[in-house]
Symmetry: C2
Subunit: 492 residues, 2 copies
Amino acid sequence: MSKKLTERAEDYSKWYNELVLRADLAENSAVRGCMVIKPYGFAIWEKMQAELDRMFKETGHQNAYFPLFVPKSLFEAEEKNAEGFAKECAVVTHYRLQNDPDNPGKLRVDPEAKLEEELVVRPTSEAIIWSTYKGWIQSYRDLPLLINQWANVVRWEMRTRLFLRTAEFLWQEGHTAHATKTEAIAEAKQMQDIYAEFAESFMAMPVIKGVKSDSERFAGAEDTYTIEALMQDGKALQAGTSHFLGQNFAKAFDVKFTSKEGKQEYVWATSWGVSTRLIGGLIMTHSDDLGLVLPPKLAPIQVVIVPIYKGEEQLAAISIKVNEMVKNLRANGISVKFDDRDSFRPGAKFAEYELKGVPIRIAIGNRDLENGTLEVARRDTLEKKTLNQEGIVSVIENLLEEIQENLFSKAINFRKEKTTVVDTFDEFKKVIKTKGGFVSAFWDGTEETENKIKELTKATIRCIPNDTKEGNGQCVFTGKPSEKRVLFAKAY
Amino acid sequence: MSKKLTERAEDYSKWYNELVLRADLAENSAVRGCMVIKPYGFAIWEKMQAELDRMFKETGHQNAYFPLFVPKSLFEAEEKNAEGFAKECAVVTHYRLQNDPDNPGKLRVDPEAKLEEELVVRPTSEAIIWSTYKGWIQSYRDLPLLINQWANVVRWEMRTRLFLRTAEFLWQEGHTAHATKTEAIAEAKQMQDIYAEFAESFMAMPVIKGVKSDSERFAGAEDTYTIEALMQDGKALQAGTSHFLGQNFAKAFDVKFTSKEGKQEYVWATSWGVSTRLIGGLIMTHSDDLGLVLPPKLAPIQVVIVPIYKGEEQLAAISIKVNEMVKNLRANGISVKFDDRDSFRPGAKFAEYELKGVPIRIAIGNRDLENGTLEVARRDTLEKKTLNQEGIVSVIENLLEEIQENLFSKAINFRKEKTTVVDTFDEFKKVIKTKGGFVSAFWDGTEETENKIKELTKATIRCIPNDTKEGNGQCVFTGKPSEKRVLFAKAY
């Protein structure tokens, strides 16, 4: 625990990797590109899941579960979707192993057990779900169908990074079916709003809501609504997407319904997802050179109490006081850990909880017992204060709220600072190269320009923001007329 | 909805399949042997998960997540485990699809994208987890390691049935590491107790706790502790198992720790799991010819309220009353649905909720509004009573408890009736053939006898019960001396 983390300013990427490992969040596994999510990292995911699941259910969605495997013939039915994912699919071809006659004690794939049709391990579930919906939807009375699934998916990425891009990841994927285009678009936008609310209110991570350009759209979608966050190194992170799928999947899987007027019509679709990638975003939004900084609303441990003592007698006396405090804090819904391990010194414990991003640390020693005091340290500002034990529960409650708000406003200020409006391409290149962050610029709307800018600067269009002010201008690259400023950035 | 279910007495297996489909619990998918768990079925699983997860955490376990894939070389490391699962493994051999040059618009596996080492889709996770634990365990201070995972697993079964046996299923798998044999055995037994408590207190499904015979033990385990339930057709269901794994996996993956005395020792292991199979057990323990019967503690909807009305005016008046009632019931933690759809008649709704096993149905009509009454119907006994609206919340609370208890005691009585002590093999055969259920008989302890009995009767040893009375007798088949009675049954 004693070795310091690489500093962010020195090597941001190295800092991130070290932090994920040392804070016990996740690690690489024996399987190429797949991670093990360790208990502390998984506890953050469980907190995220609980809030998102509540928000989905409050808006009328139900959970279900669909198969891990997609038969190849279903997978290829929606062509654009298939094309988009074909290059990164893990494929099951056999269903049995047998003893390897050439290597005693080893196994090999049984050549007799070849599947007639290969099975794709789901990279996303539109195909298997829409082939199922065909049996569920006959009439307008069966609509809307509002379903979500919590699942693992596999995309055989060549360059992986813990949480940000892994071959297998955990996510939720909503798949809804509607009678009208208007309703489906409203659903897709509603889910974008829910993602934004979750990111800002729980993760304390500000996001820009917008729509993707054609080239960045989900394979098989008509429109992809996105939330984009800005990391401390000036790179953007696509944090969640919600797709209006039009009738593409309904047509591919022949899903029609009888309307109120008695007509046969194709169903309108949406899908939307967020993944364990959010944990990467959480880390890169708030953490510092000492380690993780967690917003109280998602921290597995909100308060840690460390006793400062000499000998068992002092510890016993402190413990009586602390146990009472722990009980009161828990009764108020605050998660507390009392770390009375005698195998570590207080200094080592302080460093450990700083590394793990626990929002509030309380230290209490013998002198404090006499004085009725304790020391409270904030992880976000590193401030320490000596306070009275009396009334500590409401002090802690308020402080947790304050920390949550402070993290959000710090992140908002950072983004403001790192968002630059530019009107010339020289300026564009300079900002991307030196300052980073979001660049707001006019764009002529063509894929050609988008690609050239990407080639020259590595910046991509993150989104066309929802709240962009209409206004005519000239494309920063071609000078052609443009109706809107869009947001460019280098991205994860 | 109007067509009746096949009756249990006529064809139990057909009744089960129809019920699962018609109660909207699950259905077969486009993938051989894999099921789609529909929202109503998944809601039951979510309730099960929530209770089990709480029980695991209360006993010090943490959740984590390990990869879906197991490299073949890790999979084969623990030989018995590998041998036990090799015949039913889905294997990923390729990581990319490409356009099929012979079939425009179709995809094929890209022959260039063959994996160097095949990946087994986990049938269980001991191998991948113990290869990870090697990095986590150095000292006795790192023990015990108490971890659980909620995950999907794949076992390529040839004969599948919804919930009971599917190629992919959802489960939890606990994997713990300990410094001593005693501690590991205590952990394995503790988890058996937790499973039994969950089965009896929440599922209202009585279970026998016992240990498996050698031939029924988990591949790679030293001992398998099981809970065995009895279904209405007289067949047993293995509902959960907890394994003492000895040092087998520690040796296979070289996981050693430094003891307090400074010695290098192999770690002791357990693993334990229950799956979506429990839903099959729940169905076959309580349901009847009208449909599902759910114990209140796991019912997604505990109370349904159906208005009996003519015209919108009456509905409006009833709704005012009902909405107030709904609010009060929910405030007391009761899940309620008010079904005011006007597209279905009350009779159709009654049949639907009977089919779906909602524990309590309340009907309320115009006359009831005048009289301050309502009609309460119990799903378990089908009794109806007219009661006062006043004080209804506590009446419902008590009734839910009563239903929970009634289901359990009915199931206990059924099992008692269907458990037969036999001392001759003629009697054994006769009971298995005609009456079914558990047969308690002396056994000489050999695998040979066990196999012969299985050949002749299809009955297997379900377990050697924990609370079996010691006592000498003679094996029901060979007449050789035997120390204990064991439980035989035909099983799912």
